[in-house]
Symmetry: C2
């Protein structure tokens, strides 16, 4: 079952039922505009990461501002975007398993949905899936540019996979995926710069080797909210895959020199108990907020500290003597935006204290 | 949108698409039977906690084995259970806010749905909501028996709230809610025993004071999977609220002298990358598994360690040289069962290597 919508357009924010996922639309639009302005005239395009927002509505707002398409991590997310009218999607991830590959191949009839590989067996399986339905699938080679998770080493392994793709009649070699995930949240700017300098170097070398072999890279993609200025300055990357920039979170805000975007995403929560002195209990705990990157912050109330999450409760410590009232609603800044959004079926868009829109988190939970 | 079902009845487990939430039905039924057998003849009943399983199907299996009803934490969960035919539900939590109270009152027409309070204002609001629809709502006083989260202090505050409930024409005083959540996971058995000894003491005193005031407690509820033997032995509690016992998780297994139940819940995951030597990457990360109580374990494969979760990836370190193959499926034991279940729309019930049933996680995400 879907969650019932927690609000109606026109309602004051204070009447929104909780826990609810709020977008501050002024801040959100400012973020979309800021990224579009930054990329304008650089020749580098945004392919925004929909693993963050999971919404064809938001994808279209990004594309209206110049994004060339969307990234996703899962076939299920690609389906929801394609069904929602997004024409150009990259699964920036490997896809393994017969069922998923058949879905990916079937999707080509309504959108261009490219995918990544880091193993020869994945290329053969993709070719078979594409052949079975007479589709052609664009395939990128994923390069391990420093994260040591997925992706092949630069040099001969990249060239070998690209050759195999180019030699497969139902596949199109589409370029390189070269994203350094763990670099996004390194605290010091020098650490981020050093990590991406390495990524740029191995990516540049691989692009050159591929070009020499007659395998030009239409897409060289990577870069997230924490590091995109470096990929942008590299002269090698031509697509930036930022997602969190639209919303931000408490973890990105902890980077020294945080990304130049505003906090636009909040979880609205209600004080449901005030029985213990010095404590206020909120109705938003582990099921309402991802805590993998730290606990949420209480927005605009520095005297209140979210000190502990259990399944359905958040425990606030009142540190400055001004306790919130029973029933009072507070905005929380999630520790980590992507998995927090994935808990909700609805975005509640608010502007100047009123609900302006409800958008479904349409690809929520599409893990397959 | 709901996730598509990841399997079909009759299918071999190895064909289930991933990530998927598996129930090993033999272990699960053994757990349900073990709890029923333990309580038989004690006079203490199980009111199993549906915040764990979120399923009217599982609720009915528990009630067929003697459970008197179900607990939930949220009105939305109570709705799903009531709609699914469960006649006796306790919201073992405070409910604040006009919208939620109206839903709680409306629900009384199809089920008995009791609720807890720890503040006089909650009692007045409940009375108004019940009066508005001509319902009568059973209300328990929540006692802070040691967790310092919700609940009033024992003694006069408990009696005052109970009196206010009993004096409200549309409310029925239903007894005491006295659950010590944080005690469940204290590692040493002596720590759990000490915490519950305190809870039993304050609960006993409060029940006596209420009885002396002509306010007998029909329900004295509490106790979870980690401590229920103590509440059972107390002679004070008459309802046990265990939920995790049906499934178990890696965190409960870390208790010294863990609860006497089998691991029956797994996340099935696929190896999607083997590009980095000594590493295997799974398709189940932060969105597929709750990590608040630690990372998952790889079931039956002691040489593989789940060493890191990112949004959609789990990084396995191969510690004994026997790496899994690309495409191989592995069972993971979640660190924390409740919030992991909340990520899925479907349980896939398996027995002897075959899918036997698909059950919806019907109250998934019902946080309101």
């Amino acid at each position: 079952m879907m969650q019932p919508p927690p609000a109606q357009p026109g309602m004051p924010e204070d009447e929104v039922d909780t826990p609810a996922l709020l977008i501050d639309l002024d801040a959100f639009e400012a973020n979309l505009d800021a990224m579009a302005t930054r990329l304008e005239g650089t020749g580098v395009k945004l392919r925004a990461h929909a693993k963050t927002h999971k919404s064809p509505v938001i994808a279209r707002l990004q594309m209206a501002r110049g994004a060339v398409g969307q990234c996703v991590q899962k076939v299920g997310e690609a389906e929801v975007l394609a069904w929602g009218g997004i024409p150009d999607i990259l699964v920036s991830n490997e896809v393994v398993g017969r069922t998923k590959l058949a879905r990916l191949a079937a999707l080509q009839r309504i959108s261009r949905v490219a995918v990544c590989v880091d193993d020869a067996a994945q290329v053969s399986a993709l070719e078979a899936a594409a052949e079975a339905v007479g589709a052609r699938i664009t395939v990128l080679v994923e390069l391990d540019c420093g994260a040591s998770r997925c992706g092949v080493e630069p040099g001969p392994p990249v060239v070998a996979l690209a050759r195999q793709i180019a030699a497969s009649p139902h596949l199109i070699f589409g370029g390189l995926q070269s994203y350094h995930g763990s670099a996004q949240h390194r605290r010091r700017p020098e650490e981020r710069a050093a990590a991406i300098a390495h990524a740029v170097e191995v990516t540049r070398r691989s692009v050159e080797q591929l070009t020499q072999q007659g395998l030009p890279c239409a897409i060289v993609g990577g870069g997230g909210t924490g590091t995109f200025e470096h990929e942008l300055a590299s002269g090698v990357y031509n697509e930036i895959q930022a997602g969190s920039y639209a919303f931000m979170d408490a973890d990105y805000a902890r980077n020294e020199v945080p990304p130049p975007f505003r906090q636009s995403l909040f979880v609205l929560s209600t004080v449901m108990s005030r029985a213990i002195p010095g404590v206020a209990v909120l109705d938003a705990g582990l099921k309402a907020l991802a805590v993998d990157s730290g606990l949420p912050l209480v927005h605009g109330r520095p005297g209140l500290r979210y000190a502990g999450a259990s399944d359905e409760h958040g425990k606030l410590l009142v540190e400055d003597g001004t306790a919130p009232a029973l029933g009072e609603k507070l905005r929380l800044v999630p520790g980590h935006c992507d998995p927090t959004i994935d808990r909700y079926d609805w975005y509640v868009g608010v502007r100047r204290g009123r609900v302006e829109c409800l958008w479904p988190v349409a690809a929520r939970g599409m893990m397959q």
